[in-house]
C-alpha cells in the first residue's frame, strides 16, 4: 500500500471526522494534535511496510545470487520472504 502525504492527510481527516460525527472521541489536546497523531500513526505504519518491501527484495536478491535462482518462482519467493519478515517484525500486510 502506497499513499502520498496528501492521501494520508485525507484519510486522517476522514477518520477523525467520522469519530467526531459519531461522538466517539474526546479530544484532550485540541483537534490539530489529534489529527497530527492520526497522520503520524498511518505514516509510521506505511513506512514500516515500505522498509519491509525493500528489505525483502534485497534478501531475495542475495538468496537468488547464492543459489543461482534457476527455476525459482520469483513472485512466490518474494511473497514468502515478505510474509516471514512481516511475522518477525509484527507487521500485518
Amino acid at each position: 500500500m502506497r499513499l502520498k502525504d496528501e492521501q494520508i492527510a485525507r484519510l486522517a481527516e476522514k477518520v477523525l471526522g467520522d469519530l467526531e460525527r459519531a461522538q466517539l472521541v474526546q479530544q484532550k489536546q485540541g483537534r490539530g494534535a489529534v489529527l497530527a497523531g492520526i497522520k503520524a500513526a498511518i505514516a509510521k505504519d506505511i513506512k514500516q511496510e515500505e522498509d519491509l518491501e525493500r528489505d525483502a527484495e534485497a534478501l531475495l536478491e542475495q538468496t537468488l545470487k547464492a543459489v543461482g535462482g534457476q527455476g525459482i518462482d520469483r513472485h512466490k519467493m518474494l511473497k514468502m520472504v515478505k510474509d516471514k519478515l512481516a511475522k518477525e517484525r509484527k507487521i500485518v500486510l
Binding site: 471526522g17 469519530l19 484532550k28 494534535a33 500485518v92
Partner: protein, 90 residues
C-alpha cells in the same frame, strides 16, 4: 488499491493506540470507536478504488488513448484523478 481486512484492523489499532497512549484523546466506547476507525479506513479505500476505476475507464475511452504506464498516460491519469476527486468534493 487493495487492502485486506486484517490490514485495516491493524492500522485502526495503531491509530487508536497512538491517540490513547499519547494522551491525545479518550474514547467513551472503545469497541465502537475502533469499529468507526475501521469503517472510515475501509470507506476511504473504497472511494480511492472507485476513483481509480473511473479514471482508468475514462483513459481507456479517451479518443487519443495512451499506452498505460507511459509518461503521457501518467500525466493524464493524475489530471483526471484530481478532477474525479473534485467532482466528489474530496
Amino acid at each position: 488499491m487493495h487492502i485486506s481486512e486484517d490490514r485495516i484492523s491493524h492500522i485502526a489499532h495503531k491509530i487508536y493506540d497512538k491517540l490513547y497512549n499519547d494522551d491525545l484523546a479518550d474514547f467513551p466506547d472503545e469497541r465502537r470507536a475502533l469499529d468507526a476507525i475501521k469503517d472510515a479506513i475501509s470507506g476511504f479505500f473504497s472511494i480511492m478504488e472507485q476513483v481509480d476505476q473511473a479514471v482508468r475507464a475514462k483513459l481507456a475511452s479517451y479518443s487519443q488513448a495512451k499506452v498505460p504506464g507511459s509518461r503521457e498516460w501518467e500525466i493524464l491519469y493524475q489530471k483526471f484523478y484530481a478532477e474525479e476527486l473534485a467532482k466528489r468534493k474530496w
